[in-house]
Symmetry: C2
Subunit: 333 residues, 2 copies
């Protein structure tokens, strides 16, 4: 049987468990051209909150009654598609369910001998690609730049900062709590990390970035975006990747009051969506994989178990009660 988490109620503001229903249905039968994947791990990402809203975005809103959309990695256990073989491992958008049938569109092979499966939905998956292309192509980092990254201990931010360090930048992170900040500095090698839950971000930021910043990679929005805007160097770049602080708002989100700093500093604020780099994922994954193999890039997943625990695991994205990439194991041993 196939346990599936259905999206049944569009949330307003904070999400609660009534958003989803767990159903058990027969494992789907596949037709010609299709394959059946037994899913091992599901990716939990802040972007999921946006997919639940019924508003224009970079992707269709989820339909009520559909399987909860999610990135995933799993094994092909049946195939009527010549492009995919039984026993192969694939990553794609399989949703929060234990089995998925697909025509294979959007799935790509991954090698469990090269890296643990969860890494393929983390640093070697969408979060890693977002970080890599976001900081290099949109952030346009160059040696000697001072880079600020929010969500520094998270799946995207941790890679952003490490890539910037590899490229010769000074990197300051922002994360919640001393444990994360220690991890970001001691394990990931950032030059500093500001604890937004316990420190005055504006004054620590002033101390750490005395001459301002060249790049801010924004995962959070809200007050921290305004603080970053207050200390831009000339021609600075702000990469708008997300705004987790605003995703649960019931009213209009808080726009950046300091946006006229863009004028003062002739700076640029640019939005990015990883899909635009789809034809370069291979290049990104190879580069990140090489750095991992060389020990220059560290990756960490925080793995929970049981598809029934999805709703409570999802909350960790917003409470920050996780360390690194949040993953749910849905395969039952």
């Amino acid at each position: 049987m196939n346990k599936q988490l259905l999206f049944v109620k569009r949330p307003v503001g904070e999400v609660d468990a009534s958003t989803w229903t767990l159903e058990t249905n027969p494992i789907p039968k596949i037709e010609d051209g299709q394959l059946l994947i037994k899913q091992h791990y599901i990716s939990l990402d802040p972007a999921m909150r946006g997919w639940m809203n019924n508003s224009k975005s970079y992707i269709e809103p989820m339909a009520i009654g559909s399987v909860m959309r999610a990135g995933s990695v799993g094994e092909v256990i049946a195939s009527k598609n010549p492009k995919f073989k039984v026993g192969e491992y694939l990553a794609g958008t399989g949703g929060v369910q234990q089995y998925t049938s697909t025509d294979g569109k959007g799935y790509y092979p991954v090698d469990p001998k090269m890296a643990p499966l969860p890494t393929y939905i983390g640093t070697l998956g969408m979060p890693g690609m977002t970080a890599y292309f976001g900081i290099t192509e949109v952030g346009k980092i160059k040696e000697g730049d001072t880079v600020l990254v929010s969500g520094a201990a998270g799946a995207v931010g941790s890679v952003v900062g490490q890539v910037a360090k590899i490229k010769g930048c000074k990197v300051v992170g922002i994360a919640g709590g001393p444990e994360k900040c220690t991890y970001v500095v001691d394990e990931l090698g950032f030059d500093a990390c500001i604890d937004y839950k316990n420190e005055n971000v504006a004054s620590r930021f002033k101390e750490e970035c005395t001459k301002g910043i060249d790049v801010y990679f924004d995962n959070v929005g809200g007050e921290i975006l305004d603080i970053a805007l207050s200390r831009l160097k000339m021609h600075a770049r702000i990469v708008i990747c997300g705004a987790i602080s605003q995703y649960n708002n019931k009213t209009a989100i808080k726009g950046p009051s300091n946006y006229l700093a863009l004028l003062v500093s002739r700076a640029t604020m640019q939005g990015m969506v990883v899909f635009d780099y789809a034809n370069r994922y291979k290049e990104g994954a190879m580069q990140l994989g090489q750095w991992m193999a060389q020990g220059k890039l560290k990756t960490r997943e925080d793995i929970y178990e049981g598809i029934q625990n999805f709703p409570e695991t999802f909350q960790r994205l917003f409470s920050g009660d996780k360390m690194g990439k949040l993953v749910l194991k849905v395969i039952e041993d």
Copy 2:
């Protein structure tokens, strides 16, 4: 004697006449290397409001007790600087006064036979350069783009829209009142103009830009910036030139709530300051002058008289009670 308007009180919120004092002082004597300019016209610009604030910006805040900073155009009446001859006309930042002594730095010659003097502080001066380089270099317009311009009847916006039309764009303006909107469409040749004082901007915008916009040239900020963000085409560009709706705020300015549209549309919001194009002013002025001569680019100044009327004329920038470039004649006949 030299009538001078001194900046004597830093305003909070709306500016009133107590901000300045009119003094009459002797005409300055010049030293070696200096020249004396008899000023004819003074430029009034929204940017002046920002110069009054004591905060970090793209230019030093004005000092209390200094002559009110302003662009100006006038005639050299004495010179101990071999680079400038008596009888020559110069544009520069001469301040709100009838005579100014200077070493000539930042001044450049203008030809009153080619265009009326006020035009050199309008379309052939800073506003024109701002428009030209802003819409071409920052807005990166190309043929077929849909361009939205706020402050469409103003010194900058009117040139922005006309340049965009010349470059083959569809151009929609936003201006205050039916008289301005008629001028923008019938005289300047914009495709449409939305009257923000009498129409529902969001719904008119939806009608006029059914497929969204490629470029928004923002002179006003506030609600209109948010409306523009709501209908961006992919890879749209927003040029942040000013935010006149917010300049008199006593509290934090309103940031754009819809800024995450930058992410959805992979769009860019970039600030500009005309000074960055100083080494290309000649190119800009020649191009705009050529279009004026060809009848493709229309220009209009709204000229008031008397240095003592500066405070009341200044208010017209914010009330919108003017048509085209606001100019004050300070020379007495």
